[in-house]
């Protein structure tokens, strides 16, 4: 990751504006009840052959009625290709109906079949459209389409009225099903101003101030190392920014937003709140000399004292004083407590609004608090180093940026210096995993030896978290990859409780090499590497790949050969890298005085790959796993 990349990323956000090429016009929307026979005869989705159903079109119209309610008219038509998609014909439309702030009316729904070349329409009986009360705030319209067969087309429409002008519907062009055509029309009175957060990378079919449309939108899927589904969905979100003459929420700049946050009682208003017994902690800090020591101490005090209630919020709920007394709070409460104490200890820290990976990447071109979902604490060590502190996770440490914040922007709010900065949170050093094996192979094809497993930063955190959550037995099963032939006879940890040092695991093991026969012994020197599965088996890729941080693996092994055996095949020395040199793999093997010396190293220099790079990544991982799987063969002499 480098500055250049950051620039690319910034310009990627601006991309939609340039990408308004006109795609060929498909047969777009039809009136309710009118249908082309071709759609009923359609056998598969043109642009996604393995889809079991397809949205033929999805149309939304938003306008305002005379009492300034938001009126949202929706009409959607879905093609069912086969039995596997019949569940698409069960519909749930959730809404906030408890206080009538939203209401749904005018529901019409019908199934359209082609029966002996004749179009046959079966309407959903009004009596069978149910309104379910989920709880005091939420309702749900529920119904099932009748007479659904492979080949059926189902369609429904409804009108949702929202009483608040702030409740503007979001529009997702992309869904779990492929969408042939999706169109969103808006008619907004001049006096109302909405800000759009547009996330569209596909070419628009229509794009004017009042209508946007996309065609042939592939289905949204879950892929390994993808950002959130939200980040990948083609969509547009609306935020009310101003009403002429009265209301103004418009944050035109980050500075503007920062000042608003500072003035907000549930954020800036919390900074100076007193915490009961804080003097005790501050007294402990006093004798310490460096900022780092002070940060380490306060961070651990807060992490130990406070329990996070699993809620990510960008503002406080009970406030930090109450949360501190209860010893529980949301993520902003926990971290504003941390901020408060650090500040009191004289450390130059700032609160920082961030967005977790699930919540989606924060967009620096869009100054809005709604992008963020939690607060952390930011500390600038020097011109190139900084800490991002999050005390909500018991396994976090002060030195490593929390994993779910990597490769996104944080918004630092520096009240004292009136500085409001967006900072791209990235880790420039890789997280290492070093496996050192010392073993002896016996003539009976049994191996006995020891392993030292060294991990730092995220690999360290992940190992400790797994060990503490799952317990020793399950942790050992994980290290053994569930192999009954591999037995761990001893496992000892060094530095588990010292955040600043790498974690060392000392393991004694025995292994039975079960593929051995009368003549040959085979073995794979990649035990304990945890590199057994290739995450990129899929032939196609639909989203960018975000590793979060760089991984650096090293495996070194000394294997004493059994007497009476000679190496028959030693995998050759190999060095290979990605075309852009962003990942390199090296393998070196040698035999010396009856000992086989092996060394593997994988080093990564980049954390984000565009989906267009996938072919290279796929090919590299395939080759790398083939090389990792290659075995050494010993032959009886």
């Amino acid at each position: 990751m480098n500055k250049f990349y950051t620039l690319c990323l910034l310009s990627a956000f601006a991309l939609p504006a340039f990408a308004q090429k006109q795609a060929a016009a498909p047969s777009p929307i039809q009136e309710y009840g009118k249908i082309n026979k071709e759609d009923l005869e359609l056998k598969a989705c043109d642009f996604e052959k393995d889809a079991n159903a397809e949205v033929l079109f999805d149309k939304g119209n938003v306008y305002f009625n005379s009492s300034y309610d938001i009126v949202f008219e929706r009409h959607i038509r879905i093609k069912i290709f086969n039995d596997k998609a019949k569940e698409e014909a069960n519909i749930r439309i959730p809404y906030f109906g408890g206080d009538r702030s939203e209401d749904i009316s005018g529901i019409q729904a019908e199934t359209i079949n082609l029966n002996n070349d004749k179009i046959e329409i079966t309407k959903v009986d009004k009596k069978l459209i149910y309104t379910k009360t989920i709880d005091k705030a939420r309702n749900e319209i529920v119904f099932a389409f009748p007479n659904v067969q492979a080949g059926s087309v189902i369609e429904y429409k409804y009108t949702m009225i929202a009483q608040s002008i702030g409740d503007f519907p979001d529009w997702y062009f992309q869904k779990d099903l492929p969408v042939r055509y999706s169109e969103f029309n808006t008619d907004i009175p001049n006096m109302l101003h909405y800000k759009n957060l547009l996330m569209v990378t596909l070419p628009f079919v229509k794009n004017t101030s009042s209508v946007m449309a996309l065609a042939n939108v592939p289905s949204l899927r879950e892929e390994p190392y993808m950002n959130s589904k939200k980040d990948n969905a083609q969509r547009i979100l609306y935020e009310l920014s101003a009403v002429d003459g009265s209301y103004r929420n418009f944050s035109s700049t980050w500075k503007d937003l920062g000042e608003k946050e500072l003035a907000f009682d549930d954020f800036g208003g919390q900074f100076k709140r007193k915490l009961s017994g804080e003097d005790v902690i501050l007294a402990k800090v006093k004798p310490l000399h460096t900022d780092e020591e002070k940060i380490a101490l306060i961070f651990n005090e807060v992490k130990t004292a406070m329990k996070w209630n699993d809620d990510n919020e960008r503002y406080t709920n009970d406030g930090i004083s109450v949360a501190w007394d209860k010893k529980i709070g949301n993520s902003t409460e926990v971290n504003l407590i941390l901020y408060h104490l650090l500040q009191k200890a004289g450390i130059n820290v700032t609160p920082m609004l961030v967005s977790t990976r699930d919540n989606g990447k924060a967009n620096p071109a869009y100054p809005s608090r709604y992008q963020f979902n939690k607060t952390v604490v930011y500390f600038k060590v020097d011109s190139s180093n900084y800490y991002v502190l999050d005390a909500t996770n018991k396994y976090n440490n002060y030195k490593d940026i929390p994993q779910d914040l990597l490769n996104s922007f944080g918004f630092s709010i520096d009240k004292e210096h009136e500085k409001y900065d967006l900072i791209f949170l990235q880790r420039t050093l890789p997280s290492r995993q070093i496996v050192l094996v010392n073993a002896e192979i016996k003539p009976d094809a049994k191996v006995a030896g020891s392993v030292q497993l060294n991990t730092d930063s995220y690999n360290r955190i992940n190992a400790i978290e797994r060990y503490k959550k799952e317990g020793e037995k399950k942790y050992m099963d994980y290290l053994r990859d569930g192999d009954n032939n591999l037995k761990i006879t001893d496992l000892k940890f060094d530095n588990m409780e010292v955040d600043s040092l790498p974690l060392t695991q000392n393991i004694n093991f025995t292994l039975a090499l079960t593929s051995a026969d009368d003549n040959y012994i085979y073995f794979s020197p990649t035990i304990f590497s945890t590199l057994h599965t290739n995450p990129f088996l899929s032939e196609n890729r639909y989203s960018d790949i975000n590793f979060g941080y760089m991984h650096n693996y090293q495996i070194s092994g000394n294997y004493k050969m059994p007497t009476g055996y000679k190496t028959n095949a030693l995998p050759p020395n190999v060095s290979m890298s990605m075309p852009d040199k962003s990942i390199t793999f090296r393998r070196v093997m040698a035999e010396q005085d009856g000992t086989i010396i092996v060394s593997y190293s994988i080093s990564q220099k980049k954390t984000i790959y565009f989906k267009e790079d996938y072919d290279n990544l796929h090919a590299f991982y395939k080759k790398m796993h083939e090389l990792l799987d290659e075995q050494i063969v010993l032959k009886k002499s």
Binding site: A89, K136, P146, N147, Y520, L537, E539, Q631
Partner: protein, 643 residues
Amino acid sequence: MMCNMLKKLLPGYIGLSLLCASAFCQTIPAELYKANTIPDSLKENANSVIRYADCNMIVKGPSKIKIKQHSIVTILNEKADREAILELPYNKKYDNYSSIEMRVYNEKGDLLKKYHKADMYDGSATGGENLLTDERFLGLKHTIASYPITIETSYEEDVTSAFDLGNWDIQDKEQAVQSSGYTISIDTSLGFRYLSRNNNFKPIKVTANNINTYVWKVSDLKAIKLEEGAVSWRVLPRITFAANAFEFYGTQGRFRNWADYGAWQKQLNADVCSLTPEREAEIQKMTDTIKTDKGKAKFLYNYLQQNMRYVSIQLGIGGFKPFPATFVDQKKYGDCKALSNYMSALLKAVHIPSYYAIINAGTNKEPASPTFTADPFNHVILCVPFKGDTTWLECTSTFNPFGELGSFTENRNALLVTDDGGKLVHTPRSTMQENQFNSETRISLNADGSAKAEIKIRSTGDYRFTYIEYSSLKMDEQKEYYMHTLNLKQPSAFDLVHANDKNGVKEIDMTLEYNKFCDVMAGDRQFYRPRAFDLCAFTVPIEEKRKSDYYFEHPMQKSCLTVIDLPAGFEMENLPANQKLSFAYGTYEVGYAYDAAKNQVTSTAKFNLNNQVIPADKYTELQQYLDAVAKAQNKKMVIKRKA
């Protein structure tokens, strides 16, 4: 079998809450609120400890039930966080909760917080695969700041609709019990019964003023850890209660035996189990050229599978009364009850009798007890009693072959609803011959280590069901699934085709190309795994003292015939030895033959498991057997360039 088969379940039976115990009327020793007074023996394997529990149930008439419950549970770690959740299911008409209280105490036993009914969330209990039901729940969750913590809950419940009187689940897995008790006072005329599972706790019985009172007390029960492959209903202690008369959603019934239960359901179905005369005539016409009743039934079952779809909308009499057959006929959808009832109506139209069959569905789920009538069910299927050839139909599936149930409902007791009331009948157990996985594979090796493999898989029974379920995934996901489950080496090109699915046999064809199939190349020698995939790609963990039986999903019969063409210019140097392995419930066999003239290896492998339940005392034998199978599959073939 498949996770989404669970969609067929009925909504959970709502009525009596499980974790039962009485109110704050007694004085509880202060020690029970303190975490440090828990004996060490009760902490072993425990995530939580029931310090005290008391449930007091008074039954005055059929389904006139008053419950007072009181419990104190210490939570030791985050794995037992659910103990800080109080969830009370209810139906607006028939359940009323009062005096709900939850109190939270710290490690030392100091009160931290109190919750009341007003703090509770009131929500719909419909979710997941269920589209719609009438059921609701009250919920409360305390977020725990630090461990250990002690949660005391108490409430009173008035119930006026129930089938049986619920279960007492004495302890959950990884939960110890310091002391717990259950008291039931019931009118002698109601005929109280109970059934104990995995325990021998006996109640003290007292009779006075026509009231029988039963009191159970248990103490110092150590936590139980569920072993891998074990089923909880065979391990955890539980007592089920029932009376001989009930009132349910306004309908009365007797409940002395299974015949009573069936008679009640029969009367519920009476007005919904027929088609209109016009439709009956049409159905008759559709089938009038088919000679046998079985042929007609098969035709109509296919008609159902092609036209009707499963939708879980469960309304009416607590989700027990099926939607009318005429409704399904028109709308072409229904839940398991509605579809089974509809299938029965189709058969009735052509004068074939059939029985609505109520069952507890799910792989390896607990069967209903023949001697104890209660309501352990969650699903409905249909039984067609052809002479000497009883046929069972799963009416929610679009792909089950006629008469095949699968692991979802096989080998357990179903309650048939007949004219003479209910009859408990065992569903067939599938044999290994009915769950087959057979493959033919041809591998062509090239001198440079590349290869092409063609794999044909023919599956029946649960294998077929699984592969049909997976066929709804994206093609990329399906390929990954097969690479993982069959342990296929990652190919450079992969073509996957869902070929025929006829007569209960599904065929999948795979063509895989490898630029490197060879494991190791060394000079003139090449080393290979002599197959394209693992016939048995799993082992089970080593356990020192296995306590509970191990459950497979079904018995199985697997085979693979592999033909390998050696590259021109190569000959065989070393073939793995032929092997025969066996244990009490299965055999594995593999044989290799080299035909020098064709320069071809033919291998056959067979893996059979004739019983899906492996008794605990045979577990180690199973583990060693599977390890030996893995070892046999690990052997290599060595070929070398001809001199």
